[in-house]
Amino acid sequence: IGGTQTQGEKVKVAVLFDVGGRGDLSFNDMAYLGAERAKKELGVEVEYMTPKSREDMVPLLKQLAESKEYDLLVLIGFLWTTPLDQVADQYPDQKFALIDSTTGKVRENEVDILFREQEAAALIGVIASGMAYELGGDTIGAVAGMDIPPLWKFHIGYLYGAKYFEKKTGKPVKLLWQYTGTFTDTQVGYTTGMQLLQQGAKVLYGLAGLTHVGMFDAVIDWNKQGKGKALAIGQDASQEWYAPEYIPISGAKRVDVAVYTAIEMVVKNQWKGGIMTLGLKEGGVGYWNLDGVRQFAEFAQEGGKLKDMTPEDVVRIVKEQREKYIKPEVWEIVRELEEKIKNGEIKFKTPQSHDEYEQIIKELEKGNLDAALEKE
């Protein structure tokens, strides 16, 4: 096996994280999971590096490429886009994989893997709307990080899902979308969560890394302090284990799959440069099923983070909560939407500028669902 790889020598990969690095419970941590799985299942050697800032990226890439030590450099996050674009042509023998962004160029030595976040967010939008009505309200909310392109896509998808629900059921849904300006300040997430809940939001979608962990706590406290009933939704990783009673579901963005796929291409000698997008169809985005929930609950348990609960408990509670708050009628809408997306009937636009993004949102608010879609 391994044609370009010399026999016996292990494939060596360097995974280069985003500036924030690991510990976000979502994006970067998922990348790590994917790499670790490749280590175990494909027997590759993996090393990790977290650049201190954007300016470190180009020199690090160059130095790593020049060292010729690594069969593949996996770059996590859009910050690497321009740096990669700057160096990729200088090192034709070095393979690069860019996760969650693209240089927009097709190169032999570069694989870009993108996600169609809108597809997952749309499903979550339907589910959240259903849950909100189940909780006796009509408002859903989101605690978002900074106003950056990946979040634009989530916003569009989430709103699309809500409006889709509205159209299907005739029940109006309001969305309160709040950018917190941070992916790290947990307390801001908490305060934002509280304010959204107080303004009537029943379900909060967390799209802000560590910031939305604070949002989880706001939801938990809101319930515990008897202020009302509310639920939270996680994103990227399965985050149900954090509070299964209040987080019945999480959106999935399989950064792990992307990383694993890229490494696999090298190991199995199936490398082919180009741009890949992962959506519902490819299993790259979606929502976590109970197996996923169990797996992440197990990770949490290994880290000693599951107190007074076993992964089984988590799965059981999540299952109960899903049954309680996501009614079959809602699942039906979800399935239908899922199907349409998978068969290409629904294809989301990816906004190329802020104006375009705002335009789409405005149209969606008006109920013009097609505004979010690519025209045939």
Binding site: M49, P51, K52, S53, E55, D56, T81, M146, D147, H354
Partner: protein, 329 residues
């Protein structure tokens, strides 16, 4: 001559001491200090271009802290002064394609922000620490707004519009060094520098000598802001050519500069060296993660220990004195 030797000796010995303590901490944490240090030095100081580029904005934000500090003003606003310098230079370069103009206007923008902080202190009596911290965050969000909403690259919405290739510059480290030397000269050989130092050390004496303390505070903040602004300008014109929409291109450079200014003992020439020194540690720290598998925070820990140890030169002086005394006895 003897004096210079003593100073160098002091610096070298305190560095040795710092790394010794660092080694103890590494051992306590369960890492092999020899291995960590070898990686740290080999990679931290091995790639000269990277090292010098990295230290360029840091030297300038170091100056941004130190010049006002000498005049008795605590400028922790180097952070935001760098932001506006970077953005201004970027936009000027984008629209005019003139790097010189971009550099100058970037510096001026930083200087103007410094001046603003100084003016609030002089004319409204507002402590510069409050102003600087509040402005730092204000500018952070304004920049985030402008980059994501107004000036993002249509081809790459993650980043600001780029510096066009004809406006990109090289040799930025040389420029930083020249500025540092200029500031050194200014402080030690010009009327203004002398006045700044007097008013920093004894405002009463400055008044007696007929110096205008308000003007001096403003001048020092202008000079400081100018340095930070130039730092931001050089960063975008010479290294990154754009600012990303999460601002990780510019975030933190000003804060790191505070430590660099102080480690350089507020001496512009010293700041050149402390800037290079710290840059090497930062760069090397990334490689320590890669090569040892240690969490990246190991580097932060080590840098922290080294910086703290360098804060107490008195300690080694005492130790040396004791050793010398014992020798004599």
């Amino acid at each position: 001559m003897l004096k210079v030797n003593e100073k160098t000796l002091e610096v070298i010995s305190s560095l040795i001491f710092a790394f010794l303590i660092g080694a103890i901490v590494l051992t306590l944490l369960g890492y092999n200090p020899a291995k960590v240090y070898i990686i740290l030095f080999k990679y931290g100081y091995g790639n000269l271009e990277y090292l010098l580029n990295k230290s360029t904005p840091l030297i300038l934000t170091g100056l941004a802290f130190s010049i006002p500090a000498l005049a008795g003003v605590f400028n922790i606003g180097g952070e935001s002064q760098l932001y506006v310098g970077a953005l201004t230079a970027l936009l000027v370069a984008y629209y005019t394609r003139n790097p010189i103009l971009a550099l100058i206007l970037g510096g001026i923008a930083g200087g103007a922000l410094g001046l603003f902080i100084g003016a609030l202190r002089v004319y409204r009596g507002i402590n510069e620490v409050i102003t600087a911290i509040m402005i730092n965050w204000t500018m952070f969000y304004i920049l985030a707004y402008l980059i994501s909403a107004k000036y993002h690259d249509p081809k790459n919405p993650h980043e600001s519009v780029p510096v066009p290739s004809e406006a990109r510059i090289g040799g930025i480290f040389i420029i930083a060094v020249l500025i540092a030397i200029l500031y050194y000269y200014l402080l030690n050989f010009t009327e203004l520098g002398y006045k700044l130092r007097v008013s920093g050390l004894s405002p009463k004496s400055a008044r007696y000598a007929g110096f205008n303390p308000s003007k001096l505070i403003l001048s020092s903040m202008l000079l400081g802001g100018l340095a930070a602004g130039l730092g931001g300008a050089l960063l975008v014109l010479g290294i990154t050519y754009a600012i990303d929409d999460t601002l990780s291109t510019v975030y933190g450079v000003g804060f790191t500069g505070i430590g660099i200014g102080l480690l350089g003992r507020n001496n512009p020439i010293g700041i050149i060296f402390s800037g290079i020194f710290m840059s090497g540690l930062i760069i090397g720290g990334q490689w320590v993660e890669l090569k040892t598998g240690a969490p990246p925070e190991l580097a932060d820990t080590l840098v922290g220990v080294i910086v703290i140890t360098l804060a107490v030169p008195q300690l080694y002086r005492e130790i040396f004195k004791r050793i010398r005394r014992e020798k004599h006895a």
